[in-house]
Amino acid sequence: MEMNVREIWTVVHGMVFGLIFLLGFSGALYAVYSLKAEWLTTEGMTRTVNIIKVYLWGLAISVWAAVFTGAWVVYPWYRATPPDGTTDLSAFPRSLLLVNESTAQWHEFGMEWKEHVAFLAPIAATVVAFVVSYYGTQLARKIGERRAVMIFFIFAFVAMAIAGMFGAFITKAAAVR
């Protein structure tokens, strides 16, 4: 069960930061959706909003951490070029995937999509956290604003889900070691 430094960072990127956002999304989305004046008392509204603010900023921070650890820590190991004459490509995941036609698409489609689309998630998540924090309890009366926030949040989730899914599949095909 030993993991080396690269494997630990890969786990931190995907299974800690990424997973926090993916798992926390549905609860946060429902909390924003249920912020309706007709469903909550004044006290309930205030308590819910205070919790949602912390929750959303926590998720936004988590997704920023996921993309930064992914792009700036793990990705260099993934895309490192093997020295000339290297025959064992297991330490060079990108090269390992590209050398076979049957696995090349994991990089050319999977990683190429994942590495770019992932950056849309923290942008959208930060916007959501800000708008909810800005309006506070007034968001309960702002149907259009609440709807826009939920769309942004769902978009953030979709972007992260794409990145997470391909991250998991690529790790299975050619793990960073």
Binding site: R79, F109, E112, H116, A124, V131, G144, E145, F152, A159
Partner: protein, 113 residues
Amino acid sequence: MASEMNDKVNGPAAAALLAGGIGSAAMGVITLIYELDDKSGFSKSMTWYKPVGGLSGKSSWAIIIFFVSWAILHFIWKDRNTNFAHISSLAIALLFVGLIGTFPPFWHLLKGS
């Protein structure tokens, strides 16, 4: 009535949403331009940190554009009400520009490959 009089203006929210759309679209457009010709001067200028390659510049530019546009829009709209419906619709459309621009089959479609 009293609660409506205390209602916050929608300017800051609109600014954040539109900036989010702009940042997303920036990521999509920059990525698309890069992928259409990854040997161009523009593409080479995206390598800010060699181990990360072009992604370092592409993502950094998108994040910078997001925060700078947010700061500018917030400064302009912070004390105003805006046409929130139009701005949020535009912001959401720009999110999808980002999604499409980062989708590899779209690059291949435009490259004809």
